[in-house]
C-alpha cells in the first residue's frame, strides 16, 4: 500500500500572471506502515503535496502511483483511492454539517456504500479511537468545543478505514493539552492499526517525538528526507528555510559550546535530560580520576 510520487510538478494558474510553482520535481515514497512527518514554512508546498496523495490535485507534470498504478490513468477508481488514503484537512472541524455527531461520522462510510448498520459500527469504533464516548453521539457537532470538533472530524475520516492517514496540521488552534492528546491518539492509531501516517506540521517539536522519518519541504522542493535525528543536525540549514530545530537542540548546542560533551541528536526533553546527566557524570568521573 505505498504511494509513490515521480517528478511531480504542480503549477497554479499556469500561463497567467498569477502563475505559481507550488511543487517542482518532487520524488517521494510513502511506504507501508511508516509514520512520516512533513514539515515546511508557510507556502512551502506541504498542503499542495498531500493533496496529490489521494488524487484531489492532478500534477501538472509527473506521475502519482498508488501500489504501482498511475492514479491518473483513464478510469482509475479515484473514489476507492480516497477511501484508502484518508486525508484530514487543516481545521477539519469546518467540514462538519450533520445534525448529530454519529450521523456526521457515518457520512464517509455511507459514501463507501456500507449499510446503515455497518456505517454506524465503523463510526462508533472510529469515535472510540479518538476518545469520544457514546455520550456525544446525539449531540450537535456545533455544540462541541474546538478540540472535540476536531476529533469528530478526524473520526469522520478514520471511519472509512483508510490504509494511509494524512493529517494536515491536526493541532492547529489547540491548547497544549489538546495538542498532546491528539498527537498521542494519532500515535496510538499507528501502533494499533498499523496504518501509515503522514503528519504535516510546521512545528518540529510536535512531530519530533513521534515520527520515524521527516520530509522537509522548501519552496516546492524536497529539501531533506531523512530520520529526525539526521534532520535536526542540519539545524543551520533549517533556519535558512524559516524552520527551526526543537528548542532542546539549541540548548544542547549551547551546552556543547561551553564544553559539555552532550549528544546533539537528542530530540525530546527526556532524552536531553539523560544526555546532560550522562555528560555531567562523565565529567565528574574525569575530575575524580585526575
Amino acid at each position: 500500500m505505498s504511494i509513490e510520487l515521480k517528478n511531480v510538478t504542480y503549477t497554479y494558474s499556469p500561463g497567467t500572471a498569477y502563475e505559481i510553482h507550488a511543487l517542482s520535481q518532487v520524488n517521494l515514497t510513502i511506504p507501508d506502515g511508516e509514520f512520516i512527518g512533513v514539515i515546511g514554512h508557510t507556502g512551502s508546498g506541504k498542503s499542495t503535496l498531500i493533496q496529490h496523495f489521494n488524487g484531489l490535485m492532478k500534477p501538472t507534470e509527473g506521475e502519482v502511483l498508488y501500489n504501482g498504478e498511475n492514479i491518473w490513468r483513464e478510469s482509475y477508481p479515484l473514489g476507492k483511492l480516497r477511501s484508502q488514503v484518508g486525508l484530514v484537512f487543516q481545521y477539519p472541524e469546518h467540514q462538519l454539517f450533520e445534525t448529530d455527531v454519529l450521523t456526521d461520522v457515518c457520512f464517509g462510510p455511507k459514501n463507501q456504500g456500507l449499510s446503515e448498520e455497518e456505517a454506524r459500527k465503523q463510526a462508533a469504533s472510529a469515535l472510540a479511537l479518538v476518545g469520544m464516548g457514546e455520550a456525544y453521539y446525539q449531540k450537535s457537532p456545533f455544540e462541541l468545543s474546538g478540540g472535540q470538533k476536531k476529533r469528530v472530524a478526524i473520526a469522520g475520516v478514520l471511519a472509512m478505514n483508510p490504509k494511509i492517514l494524512v493529517l494536515d496540521e491536526p493541532t492547529a488552534g489547540l491548547d497544549p493539552k489538546g495538542r498532546d492528546e491528539i498527537l498521542e491518539q494519532i500515535s496510538r492509531l499507528h501502533k494499533e492499526r498499523g496504518i501509515s501516517i503522514v503528519l504535516v506540521s510546521h512545528s518540529m517539536e510536535d512531530i519530533a517525538r513521534y515520527v520515524q522519518r521527516i520530509i522537509v519541504m522548501d519552496q516546492g522542493r524536497v529539501a531533506f528526507n531523512d530520520a529526525p535525528r539526521e534532520i535536526f543536525s542540519h539545524y543551520k540549514e533549517l533556519e535558512a528555510m524559516g524552520l527551526s530545530a526543537p528548542q532542546i537542540t539549541y540548548i544542547l548546542q549551547a551546552l556543547r559550546e561551553k564544553g559539555l560533551d552532550v549528544d546533539l541528536r537528542a530530540m525530546t526533553v527526556e532524552e536531553a535530560k539523560e544526555s546532560i546527566l550522562e555528560a555531567l557524570q562523565k565529567r565528574r568521573l574525569g575530575e575524580d580520576g585526575r
Binding site: 498569477y18 473514489g79 486525508l87 469546518h94 459514501n111 463507501q112
Partner: protein, 267 residues
C-alpha cells in the same frame, strides 16, 4: 479548480492605464461606450477602432484576456448576427425559400457585431486595469454629491468593498470544504438534478456557518476599532488627480468631440 476564477478579472501590469485615476477610467469608459453609438459610418468605425487599439496597446494587457471576456456573450452575438442578416429588408443578394440575405442585412449585422464586441472589450479594459477596490473608491467619490439627498453613499461603498473582498475568501473556503468532503467520499459531479442538490448539503451547511462566523468576527473587529461609517472619515490613499489624468480627460474630450463632429457632419 475554483481558484482559477478571478473576480473583476484584474490583470496586474505596469502601464499608464493602470496608474490612471479610477474616476478618470470610469468616466472615460462611459464616454467610450457612448462613442460606440455615436459613430455609424465606415470612416467613423475606423476612428473608433484606432482609438480602441491604441488604448489596448497602452494597457499592456495580453489580447487573449480581452477576448476571454467575449466568451459569455458569444451566443448573443451569434443570434444577433443571424437575425440581422436574415430579417433586414433591402437589396437581395441570395435567396433560398423564405431565407434571404440582403446587402443592408450584412452591413447591419456587421455593425451590430462590431458594437457589441467593442462595448464588451471597452468595459473589460477598465476592469482589467482597475482593482475592484479602486473602482469602489471611484464610485464613492463620484456619487458623493448624492449625499445631499441623504443617499448613504459611504455605507453602500463600504458594503461593496466588503462584499468584493470576501468573494475570493469564500471561493477559497468553498474549494477547501469541497475537497474535505471529497476526501470523505462525497460526489459533487454525478447523479440527477435532485441528487446533486442533495449532495450540495455537506458543502453548503459548513459554508454558511463559516460565512456567518466571518461576518460576525468582522463586525466585532470593526466595532472594536470604533467604526461609525460616513462622517468625516479620511482615507489612507485618497484619490488625487495627477497631470496624466487631466491629459487623459483631454484626450477623451477631443475623441468625443470627433465623434460628435462625425455625427453632425454625417461623415
Amino acid at each position: 479548480m475554483i481558484r482559477d476564477i478571478t473576480l473583476g478579472q484584474y490583470y496586474p501590469a505596469k502601464s499608464i492605464l493602470h496608474k490612471l485615476d479610477p474616476r478618470m477610467k470610469f468616466l472615460g469608459t462611459l464616454a467610450f461606450l457612448a462613442s460606440v453609438f455615436l459613430f455609424h459610418t465606415l470612416p467613423g468605425y475606423g476612428v473608433l477602432t484606432v482609438f480602441l487599439v491604441s488604448v489596448i496597446a497602452l494597457s499592456k494587457v495580453p489580447v487573449r484576456f480581452l477576448f476571454k471576456g467575449l466568451k459569455p456573450i458569444f451566443f448573443i452575438l451569434l443570434i444577433t448576427v443571424f437575425f440581422n442578416i436574415l430579417l433586414t429588408p433591402g437589396e437581395v443578394l441570395w435567396q433560398w425559400g423564405i431565407l434571404r440575405i440582403t446587402r443592408e442585412g450584412l452591413w447591419q449585422a456587421g455593425r451590430m457585431m462590431l458594437r457589441l464586441i467593442y462595448l464588451v472589450i471597452g468595459s473589460s479594459i477598465m476592469t482589467l486595469t482597475t482593482t475592484p477596490n479602486q473602482l469602489t473608491d471611484a464610485l464613492e467619490r463620484l456619487l458623493n454629491p448624492l449625499r445631499v439627498f441623504h443617499v448613504p453613499v459611504h455605507e453602500v461603498a463600504m458594503m461593496m468593498s466588503i462584499a468584493l473582498r470576501f468573494i475570493p475568501i469564500l471561493l477559497e473556503e468553498t474549494d477547501k470544504i469541497m475537497k474535505a468532503q471529497m476526501a470523505r467520499g462525497a460526489d459533487f459531479e454525478s447523479g440527477n438534478l435532485l441528487q446533486r442538490a442533495k449532495n450540495m448539503v455537506p458543502l453548503l451547511v459548513p459554508l454558511f456557518i463559516s460565512a456567518f462566523q466571518r461576518a460576525n468576527d468582522l463586525a466585532m473587529a470593526m466595532e472594536a476599532r470604533c467604526y461609525h461609517g460616513g462622517g468625516m472619515r479620511t482615507q489612507m490613499k485618497p484619490l488625487r488627480y495627477q497631470r496624466r489624468d487631466f491629459l487623459a480627460y483631454g484626450i477623451v474630450v477631443v475623441y468625443l468631440g470627433i465623434g460628435i463632429a462625425f455625427r453632425v457632419l454625417k461623415i
